[in-house]
Symmetry: C2
Subunit: 101 residues, 2 copies
DNA sequence: AACCATAAGTTACTTTATGTAACTAACTTT
DNA sequence: AAAGTTAGTTACATAAAGTAACTTATGGTT
């Protein structure tokens, strides 16, 4: 990998957003918390990858995971402030898609 | 691949933006045309992938390619209106990165 | 004429990411 | 005790990305 003169924060943001499914997962959570299966059903993503992405997003502080010890167990995911701050970005993609695709 | 209830235009936009390097290439062209080597130097991307991405973006009507028959040949890439319309999206990612990363 | 330089790629090959489908853990209802 | 539910995980196949050397076209230099 070459070194770059690119701002490392921009670079990291681009790596996050420019990773398959990430923006769509954030988009799914904009209107409020969802559980694992709800996200899985609303996107053509597999459980394997959804699980992987949610872990990454949790580690980045973009998504928060809450376990409810019911039977069967319920797990909810919602956006942190950091994640919710991406609303304009994903909204912008949506707007662009409506106008240009 | 599962079927989705997702808007196909949003889905396609997310596939474009959520593809490695795409948003960064658009970002590099926001301020005006650049040639192949300029983009290559300003991003940690290889010639192989840059060439591939530029072809995709040209096919999508986001980027325009102009050949100048000088010696050695000069090739410039610039955004179409459709591509320039992504300014707010990539700008939004930049803003978010400055505030949250 | 043979040789070097440059821009813009392309090719061959390796490594990493993604897709698919079957499986597991924990607990409840039948 | 067998089956159902949610939230995953595992093992394996395929596709995408990374790396480095090579190509093509043209003109200038020795």
């Amino acid at each position: 990998m070459k070194e770059s003169l690119l701002c490392p924060r921009l670079s990291k943001a681009m790596e996050l957003i420019g990773k398959r499914w990430t923006a769509l997962i954030v988009y799914q959570l904009i209107d409020g918390a969802k559980r694992f299966n709800e996200i899985e059903s609303s996107l053509p993503i597999s459980g394997r990858l959804l699980s992987e992405r949610l872990k990454e997003l949790e580690k980045e502080g973009i998504v928060e995971r809450t376990v409810f010890s019911e039977v069967p167990v319920r797990v909810e995911y919602n956006l942190t402030d950091k994640g919710f701050a991406l609303k304009d970005v994903v909204g912008g993609i949506e707007t662009w898609s409506k106008e240009w695709l």
